[in-house]
Symmetry: C2
Subunit: 359 residues, 2 copies
Amino acid sequence: MKVHNFSAGPAILPASVMAEAAEAVRDFNGSGLSILEISHRSKPFVAVLEEAVSLVHELLGVSDDYAVLFLTGGASSQFYMTAMNILNDNETAGYINTGAWSTKAIKEAKNFGNIVELASSKDTNFSYIPKGYDIPADLKYVHLTSNNTIFGTQFQEFPATDVPLIADMSSDIFSRPLPVDRFGMIYAGAQKNMGPAGVALAIVRKDILGKVERTIPTMLNYQTHIDKNSSFNTPPVFPIFVSMLTMRWVKEQGGVDAMVPHNEAKAKIIYDAIDNSPIFEGVVTDTVDRSLMNATFVLKEQYAHLQDDFMAAATAANCSGVKGHRSVGGFRASIYNSMPHSSAQALADVMAEFAAKHA
Amino acid sequence: MKVHNFSAGPAILPASVMAEAAEAVRDFNGSGLSILEISHRSKPFVAVLEEAVSLVHELLGVSDDYAVLFLTGGASSQFYMTAMNILNDNETAGYINTGAWSTKAIKEAKNFGNIVELASSKDTNFSYIPKGYDIPADLKYVHLTSNNTIFGTQFQEFPATDVPLIADMSSDIFSRPLPVDRFGMIYAGAQKNMGPAGVALAIVRKDILGKVERTIPTMLNYQTHIDKNSSFNTPPVFPIFVSMLTMRWVKEQGGVDAMVPHNEAKAKIIYDAIDNSPIFEGVVTDTVDRSLMNATFVLKEQYAHLQDDFMAAATAANCSGVKGHRSVGGFRASIYNSMPHSSAQALADVMAEFAAKHA
């Protein structure tokens, strides 16, 4: 029976990608060799890497002013690498704090320069995206987390400023078109909306680099990976390959423009199920900030004792990975690009049936 | 027709591991989900990670004085992380330079303390392992590359000193028993003898940590990954899984003790083919230093014009990845744990046939 995978990450990938990936592990392109045992400098893998880079440029409309890199260490490594590569000790960057990931990014950046928190929604356990704050024009960059996987909030518009933006887009990359030219850098761990765990995407405006005075270890310097086309050392071959397959799938679906109505319709199924329910309620207080990728909800207070019962009902209906993050509680439905509407509907159905039984 | 894969890395893995890995991409343990889409905090993956750690302890006889970590960024990231975590600015570490990887390790460590080159074989393009040098007793550690993939040299014995050793064992980890207690740290990129690209193993003696005064970014601090069991952030799930399967295979073969005669017999096939040939000769000048993992050889000077012809002959016999590294030239047969004797014999046969035709 089909499992509906609502895991926040590592997360669902298209069924066709899984099938192609499994075949490539067995025999890559009829070569008689597995994708796991070929050299990263072999022509077939260089072609994979080039196609992956090309797809990022094409899908997001990234100009040649930017380098597209595939790195390791997840978004967590970008928390310090961004500041290490871009911010001098005596310079100031602004950060918008929308939750756990922003908080970590702020902590790591503080080792490399002056960090000001421009706005924060910590006052309500990050239940909204801050609005109406000032952005000083002399900041080196403004950092934000475009989608907060844990709390289920998402920037619908990016801050209006001429300061270059730097964004962690781990959980919504490739889910919508982006005004890339407003960004100094975009980075994303693959394992939510782009591919399997083990690779991170970095899109870096080349002229933002080379201006810091500190010594940077070779592997931590973006310029190293630009100069060597993400192959200074052995890159994570298989995670890059599967990410490339997933980007091909996005292109086949009509690109990121086509992802928008697809994701909106899917999110509507879940959010309607929440809003129309007598027993559930959404976590995000400013509903305009609701994420199209991660829908967070809880049982209303008088039904809170049914937490385990609903988890059991979801599991019985083959809805997997619905448990909320421990810092929010309740439930979370991650509904990334690859999630079909039928899975969202399956969860909505369980929610309705459960409410009918218990309300 | 079977391909004999002599690639230096990413490299051959056992056929049974490839089959299990492909099946897990399709359906992991009959769960209805792919290994690529399950949470790194799910019970099934936590069990994989725990088994991987346990197998490292068991196969190499690693005591609980050491932490076993699965990290990203390859051995190249360990070149600076070792010094960053272990060496203070005013302390001195000794490095033995046996080629490209040692040279890079020296370069990166110099950013974090005083580095002395204890010995080097650079004078002959690294064609031997240095011997008979002094090791000052007050060094913080002595760093070496246990096996040089490019030049085909390998430490048969480790330097006699009470100073803790730190070794890059990327290309010979799990190929033989190790005197682990003499090491402060052992690290290895997976993609040569342990698994696919995208994960690195670090075995760290816990009491060597926590003694440097600099601020270390959270992701670069070994203690972070010790405290969080290699899951501070999302680890590279699939590369760890396949490494675990490969370690299981080593155990099933009889462990690292059983790898020694297996690897010796295989290396003998290749080295005999070199030494008995009228047209080939080995690259390693001190034959006692010959690697059991990477056999390097060239055409004798009067036959050097046959370079491309031999590559074509090897390819015609389905021997893949035999081209030598550009800094050595000639040919290289990487014959890691997973390589069967029949493949080594296939290459030896091509060498003999080619010599018979051209000598």
